[in-house]
Structures are given as structure tokens and as C-alpha cells.
């Protein structure tokens, strides 16, 4: 009896050794960096070593909201962040739908072509996307030249300088870039659906729309919700590159999201401590959002993800 127990223990220990490298990796790359948060409570300025930095407590957290002008700025920034994230979240079913319809195309070469063309923009960097946007929408770009030649406008429209519909146009750019890429996960999920389900439904006389509504989409929902959860946790991380390249003095009021704000104010002035303070706040909010979403999912669907 005793012998069996030690054998089991040894076996467990062996299994533990298998995962140890991965635990170490997570510890080194995910938990150890959290030590960097300590910078938020000091006034750190290179090249002075950190050991000589002065402890300032919560100063940098307070400085974000120390007067009405800054509070107003932060509120506007949060508004932009939430609005653009909400737009993205609210339309996160688009790639799923796109995948479903793509899958319905019977002509395989055409389907592959569409998929490739829509996936490619994902690999184009935002800097290049902006230069494409600039050559299309500047005062002598394709859009203005076309409209002027058609006699619709007399004066060029300064699209990139426009302050209206900034959230929407930015969402369009993001969708153009990401749609095909985001659909890949769903295409894989569709391929994993048991073919027998379809055959059975067809025997029962279901048409194509009914197959989609009753089999494909319900089978995709778990994938959809997992991705949604991940997106919610990333609610505040709506990226920086896109907004950084598209920002100018005219649209900044509406385009400045949290990450860009951190970059513009803190990194722009080399204030590491302040940027750490803001990113700490972000992490806290993200955890809260994730736990909240998980709770909601449990209440609504009876399933949780973490």
C-alpha cells in the first residue's frame, strides 16, 4: 500500500517536471515584469540608476486628475477609448458572418481568392496603411480627383483632417485590415463541425439558410464567446499604431485613445514613471472587465471561461 503511494507520488512529480519549464516561462515573462510596477511610485529618470530615484508615493496617479483641465482631457480620452472599443465589440460578429458566407461559396478557387485578398491587409503595417490613405485621400488624391472630375465638388475635401465621424472611419480602417484575418478562426471552427449534422438536416429537408441558422451559427457560438471574452479583457487596449499614424491636430480630440494618450504625454516627455502608473490602472480595469464578463457569461449562458 505504502509502496503504491510513493510510486504514485513519484509519477506525479515526474508529470510536474514536464510542466515545470512552462511554469517557469510564465513566471519569468508574465509575473516577473510585474515587478516593474514599482517604478510608478518613484521619480525615475535615466541615466540615474533606479536605486537613486526618489520615492513619491501616489503622486503620478494623482497628477492625472489634479485639475479640471486634465480631468476633462482624461474623460475625453476614455470616451474615445470606450466608443471605439464598443464599436469593435459591437461588430465582432462580422468576421463570424463573413466566415459563414465565405464557406457557402461553392467555387473553391474564387473562395480562396476572396479569403487571401481579405487576409492580406492584416500583414500591412499601419504606417503603410496611412500612406495608402494619404495617397487616396489627400487634396490631389484619387478620391478628390474623381469627385472633382465628376463635378460633384469644386474644392478638394480634406478627408484626413476631418473632425466628423472619426470613430466610425477609424473603425472602417480597422475592419478593412482585420476582417479576413479574424475570420480564419471561424473558418477553422466551421471545418470542425460534424458533417453528419448537415446530412441529417438535409434529409429532414432543411434549406441552406436553415442549415446556417440552426447548425453552423450555433456551433460557432462557443468560439465566438471565447473571442469576445478575450476582446473584453482587451477593452482598453485598442492599440496605438493605428491612431498614432492617423492622428493630426484636427482629429486628435476624437482619436486620442488611452494608449496614444500615454504615448503622447508620458513617453513623449520621457516620464517612465507616469506611463507605468497609467498602464497599471489599465491592467486593473482589464482584470475587472474580464471577471465581470465571465460572471455575466455564467449567469446568461451557464458557462464560464476562466
Amino acid at each position: 500500500m505504502k509502496n503504491a503511494s510513493t510510486k504514485k507520488q513519484r509519477k506525479s512529480f515526474q508529470l510536474f517536471l514536464y510542466i515545470l519549464p512552462f511554469l517557469l516561462l510564465v513566471a519569468v515573462f508574465s509575473y516577473y515584469p510585474l515587478y516593474g510596477w514599482v517604478y510608478a511610485f518613484y521619480d525615475y529618470r535615466p541615466p540615474k540608476p533606479f536605486s537613486q530615484a526618489e520615492f513619491v508615493g501616489l503622486k503620478w496617479f494623482k497628477s492625472l486628475v489634479e485639475n479640471p483641465v486634465k480631468v476633462k482631457q482624461i474623460i475625453q480620452v476614455l470616451k474615445n477609448t470606450f466608443a471605439m472599443s464598443a464599436l469593435t465589440l459591437g461588430t465582432s460578429w462580422l468576421p463570424m458572418l463573413f466566415a459563414v458566407f465565405l464557406n457557402e461559396i461553392r467555387c473553391v478557387p474564387f473562395r480562396k481568392f476572396v479569403q487571401t485578398v481579405t487576409t492580406l491587409p492584416n500583414f500591412v503595417s499601419w504606417v503603410l496603411v496611412y500612406s495608402i490613405a494619404f495617397s487616396m485621400f489627400n487634396s490631389t488624391g484619387m478620391a478628390n480627383t474623381l469627385l472633382m472630375n465628376l463635378g460633384i465638388i469644386d474644392e478638394p475635401i480634406l478627408f484626413l483632417q476631418s473632425t466628423s465621424h472619426v470613430w466610425f472611419t477609424q473603425w472602417l480602417w480597422l475592419t478593412w485590415k482585420n476582417l479576413g484575418w479574424a475570420a480564419i478562426m471561424y473558418i477553422a471552427a466551421i471545418n470542425g463541425i460534424d458533417d453528419e449534422l448537415y446530412q441529417a438536416a438535409k434529409v429532414d429537408g432543411a434549406n441552406r439558410m436553415q442549415l446556417i441558422r440552426n447548425i453552423t451559427i450555433p456551433s460557432l457560438l462557443p468560439t465566438y464567446f471565447v473571442l469576445l471574452m478575450i476582446n473584453i479583457a482587451n477593452f482598453l487596449n485598442n492599440g496605438m499604431e493605428q491612431f498614432y499614424v492617423f492622428q493630426n491636430s484636427f482629429n486628435k480630440e476624437y482619436i486620442q485613445v488611452l494608449d496614444l494618450y500615454v504615448y503622447n504625454t508620458a513617453m513623449g516627455s520621457g516620464s517612465y514613471s507616469v506611463s507605468v502608473a497609467i498602464s497599471m490602472l489599465k491592467s486593473v480595469v482589464s482584470v475587472v472587465l474580464l471577471v465581470g464578463a465571465n460572471k455575466a457569461s455564467k449567469a446568461i449562458r451557464g458557462e464560464s471561461f476562466i
Binding site: P47, N67, F250, T265
Partner: protein, 567 residues
């Protein structure tokens, strides 16, 4: 500390010659052994190239000193701040360290830079600049409570602290000579006249020859710092220079940038008026520097302001065809122009604290050569025979290859180092002594642009007509003769660095000023322009603007005092 700093400035000039490096300049440089190849790491904020120096310049210094330069370029590394931070943290920034003044002061403070005061007197070519070196180090030591000599300013010269030997000023209006004469070369008394001239030119030439739209003014936003860089450059036409949150005047005044009587407001208003007249490229706020460059190369921009913008268009052939851009004065201008960088240009060289005694001596020997007439000609011009030839009277003449060495892909013969000339050019991109220095061997500047032989070759129709109309050889001569230019003495000090609070305020205020300035240029009418400006001033106060102005006023006080002392 502020007060001490000011005091030190005044004293430093007086005691310079007797202080740190006192008087053993006659000693011989110690013998060093060149047998072993020495690879030096050069931490260089000015470099646009990272890696080992190759080509003809590498060969010249290897033959002389058996030295190889491994250039560490934060500008190229992708993340300059973290490279600097990591290398500082490791305690070894480099063997040769080239930094901005303020950063150097930080690095000296934490012990990354070596004290070379005992060695410098052995190097006669460096000791020519003893006064400049002492002045900088005394002020830095005052601030840090240190002693010793750590840094050698870059771009020094020995022409005198108030001398201005260039033939162009940094910023003034510059127009294409054929277009300007075509509308009758009208005299311009003020900015309104300039706008009128620009309007006439743009009306006559709404496109370039290829049919692309041309505008009087084309701006680019990517150089903006805490205010629009182009506006900053144009404030120099009216006697003020933007430095952070304040305007420093030729009259040694300091006023806030937001002063409505100041040149920033005046020039912002100039751009607004120009836009009202349709003279501003509509893409100004969204195009990048490269797009703007292309337009300048294609003659789609009628007004230049920087002197180096000439390089986008001017050439001897176009000059002969009367098409070159030339500086055209506006009557009420009062150009802000610092004199040649006698005391240095704001960057400094140092030797890392980790180098061995032997290495230190070899580096100093190398520095001494960099300051010698031979080394200067090598760095600023090139090799004898290939780039220039020596005339009978001892002066130099550029060879045809030398004339086009920057623009043409000149192949260097294998025995001189091989490769293309530009690839093999000095990639350190920073010089201890400026090219405007006089070469004692020729009696001319080191810079080939001012050699008699070069000026003769470049005397084009544009230049002749210009000189005839304005009665002067060049724009500097004209501006000086007409009381529009009185160069302020160039000073080189290590100024106060922003603490974290100030840096934050600066970046937030800067964002607001930039954004408002751009909106103001494109404002619909006078009322909107005014209200944007007033609103900006009000919001700035909420962000701590007054504190920032106070900080900058104190920061630049030593500059004012040094200028007053030099005048």
C-alpha cells in the same frame, strides 16, 4: 544653484585660461604603441549609421592609428531611450561618448565619463580650444560640485565668439529668382508685401511644369516639438527664437511664447492670412517630411526659408538659367542668427570611464588628429588627389569628383579604401571642430564651399543679377549692411534639465499649442483665429503653463548672461 550657475558663467570666461588645464601646453604627447588593433565603441547620438565604419575614412584612421570605430547609434536602433537607459545601467556607455550637453552632465554625475584634465595639455591641436573646453567644464562642475575636465564641445572654432562667417542665414524668405524677377522683383516692406508677392507668383505658376499643383507655402507637421516647427523657424525673421515655452530675443529679452506682441503669434497670423489667400498647401497638416521634400524637389513650393532647402533645387546649371532660389529681404525684418559655434553646438564628446590607460592615450591621440588641419580637411572635405588638389599658392581646388561627391555615387579607388564615397564618409556625423574653422595651411576655411576656387566656379547668372540688384555679394552682407542682422553670440552651456513634473507639463502644453496652432492656420475667419488663441492661453494656464514659463525663463537666463558678457 541657479545663482551659482550664473556666477560661474561670468567668472568662467575670465579665468578660463588659468583654470583647469593650466599652462603646460608645450608638453609632448606621450608615445603610444599602435601594434594592436583597437576597436572603439562610439556611442553617438548624431550618427545615422550603426556598425563598424568602413570605406575610405576607415582606411585613413586605421593606417594612422590602427583604430576601428564601432558606432552605436541610438537614432538607428529603433528605441533610442531604452538603448541609452540599458547602456547607462550597465555602467558602460561606450569608449567614446557623444551626447547632448544636458545628458553629458547626467552621465558625468553618475560616473560614466572619464576625467581627462591631466592629459589634455599634452595635445596641442586640442589645446587650441582650451578656452572653450574650460568654459563648458567649469560651468558643468559648478552645477555638479565636481572638479576635472570631462567633455569636449563639438563644432568649436577659433574665429572668435561673435564671428559669423557663413554666407547665408539659417532662416529668411527665399524665392525662385526667375519667378521673382518675372513679376517685376517688387521691393517688400513687410509681411503683407511678401504675401502679395507670393500671391502673384502663385497666380502666375499655379502648377509646376509637370502640371502638379504648386503652392506658396507647404508645411509638414512631423518636426513639431512643443509648437509648430515651421512657425518657430519664421519667428527668427523678427528677432526672436523659440526655446520651449519662451521667446529669446536678439535684444536678450525673454518673453512667453504666448505673448501676443511676440513673433510666434505674428508668424502664426502670417500663415493664417496666407491660408485665407489660398497660398497654403491644403495637405500641410497631414503630409510627412518626405512628401514635402518631394514637392520642393519638383518646384511645387514657392517659398523656402531654411538655407539648406537650397539643396532641394539649386545647382550651378539652374543658377546659370536664373532658376535658383535666393534670399529676398523683407524691409522690416530683424533676423535672429547666432554666430558661428565658437563655444560648441550643444553636443559634447567624452571618454568612457571604463577605458584603460593605454586606450585613453590612443583615443586622445586620435582626438588630437581630429582637431588638426590635416584631420579637419579629411573629415570635412576628403582625401587629397581624389576630392581636392593643392594649387601652386597652397590653396585647394575641388576636383570634378569632389564637386559632386555628395550627390553622385562616386566610386573610391581600391587603394584609397574602395566602396562608394558616401558610404565610406565619416559616419560619426559629428565633429570636434566646425568646418568654418580657418585652415592655417591655406588661409581659407576648411569648408570647401568658401574656397575662392569654388566660389569662382559657382558664380552663376542668378548670383550676378542678385548681387547687382541688392548691391551685396551675398545675403549676409546685405542684411548686415541694412541693419537687419546682428548675430547674437553663440553660447554653449549645459542647461537645466526638466524634472519629471516639468517634462509632463511641457508635453501636455506642447500638444495643446501644436493642435491649436494648426487649427488657427486653417481657421475660417479672424474671429475664429482669435478665439482659438485666447482659448488656448486659458487652457494652458490650467495645465501649469506659468510654472513652465518660469522654469524656462530661469533655464535660459545663463544664456542671456553669457551673450551679454560676450557682446
Amino acid at each position: 544653484m541657479k545663482k551659482r550657475n550664473m556666477l560661474s558663467m561670468a567668472m568662467a570666461a575670465a579665468v578660463a585660461s588659468t583654470s583647469l588645464l593650466s599652462g603646460v601646453a608645450s608638453a609632448e604627447a606621450p608615445e603610444v604603441n599602435h601594434e594592436e588593433l583597437l576597436q572603439l565603441e562610439v556611442y553617438d547620438v548624431a550618427a545615422n549609421f550603426q556598425g563598424i565604419q568602413t570605406g575610405w575614412y576607415a582606411k585613413e584612421i586605421k593606417d594612422r592609428f590602427n583604430i576601428e570605430l564601432n558606432i552605436i547609434a541610438p537614432q538607428v536602433s529603433g528605441d533610442a531611450a531604452s538603448l541609452y537607459q540599458t547602456r547607462c545601467a550597465s555602467g558602460d556607455l561606450g569608449d567614446i561618448i557623444i551626447l547632448d550637453n544636458a545628458d553629458m552632465q547626467d552621465c558625468v554625475d553618475v560616473g560614466l565619463v572619464m576625467d581627462i584634465s591631466a592629459d589634455l595639455p599634452n595635445y596641442p591641436n586640442i589645446m587650441k580650444y582650451e578656452e572653450q573646453i574650460n568654459l563648458f567644464n567649469t560651468a558643468m562642475n559648478e552645477a555638479l560640485g565636481n572638479t576635472g575636465t570631462y567633455a569636449i564641445p563639438a563644432e568649436m572654432n577659433s574665429n572668435g565668439p561673435t564671428e559669423y562667417k557663413e554666407d547665408t542665414v539659417a532662416s529668411m524668405p527665399r524665392l525662385a529668382w526667375d519667378y521673382y524677377t518675372e513679376i517685376g522683383a517688387p521691393e517688400m516692406k513687410n509681411l503683407d508685401d511678401l504675401l502679395d508677392v507670393l500671391r502673384q507668383i502663385q497666380d502666375a505658376h499655379p502648377t509646376n511644369e509637370a502640371g502638379d499643383n504648386a503652392y506658396a507655402l507647404s508645411l509638414w507637421p512631423d518636426w513639431d516639438s512643443t509648437s509648430i516647427e515651421t512657425v518657430n523657424q519664421l519667428t527668427k525673421w523678427y528677432g526672436q527664437e523659440v526655446n520651449g515655452s519662451v521667446l529669446i530675443g536678439v535684444d536678450n529679452s525673454i518673453v512667453p511664447l504666448t505673448d501676443k506682441e511676440g513673433a510666434y503669434y505674428k508668424m502664426l497670423n502670417f500663415f493664417y492670412k496666407a491660408n485665407q489667400m489660398g497660398l497654403v498647401d491644403p495637405d500641410s497638416a497631414t503630409q510627412d517630411w518626405n512628401a514635402a521634400c518631394d514637392k520642393m524637389r519638383q518646384k511645387r513650393v514657392h517659398l523656402f526659408w531654411y538655407n539648406w532647402q537650397y539643396g532641394f533645387w539649386n545647382s550651378p546649371e539652374k543658377g546659370e538659367a536664373r532658376e535658383n532660389y535666393r534670399g529676398i529681404p523683407v524691409g522690416d525684418m530683424n533676423v535672429f542668427q547666432p554666430s558661428d559655434t565658437y563655444y560648441g553646438d550643444g553636443r559634447v564628446w567624452g571618454i568612457g570611464s571604463n577605458v584603460s590607460e593605454d586606450e585613453k592615450l590612443r583615443i586622445l591621440e586620435f582626438f588630437d588628429w581630429l582637431c588638426s588641419p590635416e584631420g579637419l580637411t579629411m573629415q570635412h572635405v576628403g582625401q587629397e588627389g581624389l576630392i581636392y588638389t593643392v594649387n601652386e599658392d597652397g590653396t585647394y581646388t575641388l576636383t570634378p569628383e569632389g564637386m559632386t561627391r555628395f550627390s553622385a555615387e562616386l566610386q573610391v579607388p581600391e587603394e584609397l579604401g574602395g566602396g562608394t564615397w558616401n558610404d565610406g564618409n565619416n559616419q560619426v556625423n559629428q565633429w570636434l571642430v566646425a568646418s568654418i574653422e580657418m585652415n592655417p595651411e591655406t588661409g581659407e576655411t576648411v569648408n570647401s564651399d568658401y574656397w575662392a576656387s569654388f566660389l569662382e566656379a559657382n558664380d552663376t547668372a542668378t548670383n550676378k543679377e542678385w548681387s547687382e540688384k541688392f548691391g551685396a555679394a551675398n545675403e549676409v552682407e546685405y542684411l548686415k549692411a541694412n541693419g537687419m542682422l546682428d548675430p547674437v553670440p553663440s553660447v554653449n552651456l549645459s542647461l537645466a534639465i526638466d524634472d519629471t513634473d516639468t517634462a509632463l507639463i511641457r508635453s501636455q502644453c506642447g500638444d495643446l499649442i501644436k493642435d491649436t496652432s494648426w487649427k488657427a492656420i486653417f481657421a475660417a475667419d479672424d474671429a475664429e483665429f482669435e478665439s482659438l488663441w485666447d482659448e488656448m492661453c486659458e487652457t494652458l494656464n490650467g495645465l501649469g503653463w506659468e510654472q513652465l514659463v518660469e522654469f524656462d525663463t530661469a533655464k535660459y537666463q545663463p544664456v542671456i548672461e553669457a551673450r551679454q558678457a560676450a557682446e
